[in-house]
């Protein structure tokens, strides 16, 4: 596994957010984190999991599972309104071939919800 460094600071930020919201909800334990990760957000699940195991130790999130919901880079055609995931070598609309298209999804990286007790 290739460990990229920046997931460490990102995972620290994630833990801080999770603990803060758990405290606000008076939770005793965090069971699961539901994360939304766009394909373009440069986050590697394995690296986040690796750092999570280290930094969550000794907190109420110690045994929490991380669940990643991946969002592919998705475009919308402004001419025919088709939403599509483009081919790797061009971005034109998969339906009408128009270049009048916009990226609408794929850059997300947020904590959506948590299962706590």
């Amino acid at each position: 596994m290739v460990l990229t460094m920046h997931e460490l600071s990102v995972t620290e930020n994630l833990l801080e957010i999770a603990l803060r919201h758990a405290q606000q909800a008076n939770a005793k334990r965090i069971i699961r984190l539901h994360l939304v990760v766009g394909q373009l957000s440069s986050i590697i699940d394995d690296s986040v999991n690796f750092y999570w195991d280290i930094i969550a130790k000794g907190t109420i999130a110690e045994t929490a599972e991380l669940e990643f919901r991946r969002i592919p880079a998705t475009f919308e055609c402004l001419d025919c309104h088709t939403q599509y995931i483009p081919e790797s070598d061009h971005y034109e609309c998969s339906h009408c071939n128009s270049a009048n298209v916009r990226l609408i999804k794929g850059q997300e990286f947020f904590l959506e919800s948590m299962d706590v007790e």
Binding site: M5, S42, D89, Y91, Q107, E112
Partner: protein, 224 residues
């Protein structure tokens, strides 16, 4: 009993908050700033050298240089006439807002006119970490190939302006400029693109004019 709580919080929020503070500090100091991003070897340091040499008579310049381990880039920027601060990221693949905040603390901000932040050479990670500067600039170069907008859409979408460097090599390298620019335009509609060569100096004038204009309009905005 387990229950689900809704959070919806951006995980880059800690960095984004520091970036916002950097932005306020830079704006209060009336210091126009840019973040240069590119893959290794695209010409970040060369463009900085050319820019500093051409503008140092007119403006007081500083460069914050992100590098994994050496201070070669900062030395080149200093030799060209800028005040240079090196950040050794110790293996980090990008600069983040906190590193830039620390570097800002060691610069005489109010007595500067123009700050260039040279990010770590990488087309992926720097796009996710805002620094708080006024404009984000991407440099691509001809030898990297014309498929880059299709391979790294996140980076191409996140910037305010683009430079295509090493256009003096176009006769020797297969590079479909139309194909490249089509991808850029889809990801970032209307973005301004400067085609230039730091070696032959072709096209450099438009880039320098852009900076002069940006500094002027920035000053006008902050003095309102």
């Amino acid at each position: 009993m387990a229950n689900r709580i809704t959070v919806i919080e951006n995980i880059f929020s800690a960095n984004d908050q520091i970036a916002e503070k950097n932005r306020e500090l830079l704006t209060q100091s009336r210091l126009f700033s840019i973040n240069l991003m590119a893959s290794p070897g695209a010409g970040k340091t060369s463009l900085i050298e050319q820019t500093v040499k051409s503008l140092s008579g007119q403006y007081r310049l500083a460069v914050i240089d992100g590098d994994i381990a050496t201070n070669l880039d900062a030395e080149r920027a200093a030799a060209a006439g800028a005040l240079a601060v090196q950040i050794n990221t110790g293996g980090e693949c990008h600069l983040d807002a906190l590193m830039v905040q620390n570097a800002l603390n060691s610069l005489p901000l109010p007595s500067l006119d123009f700050l260039i932040v040279e990010n770590v050479g990488n087309l992926v990670c720097p796009a996710s970490f805002k620094l708080g500067v006024h404009k984000n600039v991407l440099i691509a170069s001809i030898p990297e190939g014309d498929d880059k907008p299709y391979k790294y859409p996140g980076m191409f979408q996140s910037v305010d302006v683009m430079v295509i460097n090493k256009i003096d090599l176009l006769p020797y390298i297969p590079f479909r400029m139309d194909y490249f620019l089509k991808g850029v335009e889809i990801l970032n509609p209307g973005i301004q693109v400067f085609q230039l060569s730091c070696t032959s100096r072709e096209g450099l004038e438009s880039w320098l004019n852009w900076i002069v204009e940006q500094i002027a309009s920035f000053r006008e905005e902050v003095s309102r």
